[in-house]
Chain length 257, copies 2
Amino acid sequence: MREEILGKFKKCASKVSDKIDSDAFKRGKKMGEGADGTPTKLIDQVAEETALDHLLENTDFSVLSEEAGLVEQEGDGYVIMDPIDGTNNSILGIPFYSISLAYTPVDLSEVEVGYVKNFATGDEYYAIEGEGAFKNGTSIEPIKKTSDNTFCIYLGKYALPKSGEIASRATRVRSLGSAALSMCMVAEGVFDLFYHRTPEKKKSLRITDLAASTLILREVGGEVYEGEWDILEMGISPDERKDVIAINDEDIKEELS
Amino acid sequence: MREEILGKFKKCASKVSDKIDSDAFKRGKKMGEGADGTPTKLIDQVAEETALDHLLENTDFSVLSEEAGLVEQEGDGYVIMDPIDGTNNSILGIPFYSISLAYTPVDLSEVEVGYVKNFATGDEYYAIEGEGAFKNGTSIEPIKKTSDNTFCIYLGKYALPKSGEIASRATRVRSLGSAALSMCMVAEGVFDLFYHRTPEKKKSLRITDLAASTLILREVGGEVYEGEWDILEMGISPDERKDVIAINDEDIKEELS
């Protein structure tokens, strides 16, 4: 069943990709036809509508989505979706924006299928619980690092001064604007760490941002933490928000603790 | 003559792009065949050799390149080149690495042709002095911003705590790892500001990083500053390094001064 769900996620991502790449959408985007007149909102709306339609037609799971909240159906379990993670990147032409889709019977701790696709590059990351994580069909083997550590740090408006201490230990820092993709790249070993901390609660992360990439990272032996190195726990809620540190190597936890 | 130089730059970029995308190169990269055994060095070497060969065969200008330094020829003027800006991104699979090529008869203040190509996406940015700046054949019209400001900030190992003050005024922060491309995106209006400051002198920027994108930015009315808002000046030297702030809107200078 889990392979079947993964197949539906792939199809769902294709539908959204086709939609936001379509000429009709691009014309609309130029005209700023979103409900509030901004192209940012327009792409979120169109992507969510497309993905939600597909999932409600093709599965009987309830769907938790970033904008629509929880849409209940009669089946057991939940699809947790962020139709566009990195909306601002998509508007600005930064090739880092993705869909994030996860299936869980209960909550974050039991995610069974996770799927993230970078719409700009076509790269697909996915995992089935207990069966490993994959990128474009190939098993993810975290790359070996040299003495350089490349830390990826999310920098919110007020997060920057606070993240100085952790960043000063990194050789390089990137801030790419998509949590789901950044965490997949921690799984790959491209980044050693993904760090998201902000005093602005509404800029913290939701389960819709995290569910798929958390499984992908766990399947290569990594982990996502909240607070003082507690394993991240999140329920099926559109409102819960958390600051996180994600790593794929326990040595980094030792070093930073 | 300037259009002819631009044509040679485009051809040069294609040659480098073909080379680093070739199967032979990719096999070599996997094997870590660089002089010091690292793929980072290998791509820099291969790109520089390819670009330098093309430029020395097809122009009579002296060439200042990141790795090779100044290679003199009998013609008047200089090509200033960074064969791969964003080497680490290219190795790590982050779609942000470019070639930067500029022509000047004298120094940074008189650059006449600037060309930057993102090898990962194929996007080409270029400008001819006095004739405007272009992206993929279309005149760059900086996008109108909403109340959101997206600042792009280079974050070196120790730069982060120091950049906190300026970053706290931004709505969003990105750190993408290629100065040339980031500055082109300031020209486009994607970013309001590019800020590079580090106490590690060897991580400051060289004319090879800056020459092409400085002209592209100037041609849309922007400017690059050093120190306390002095217009950036750099000579033909592989050793001179500067910290910079680049903006395309003088209002931002007023706000930050």
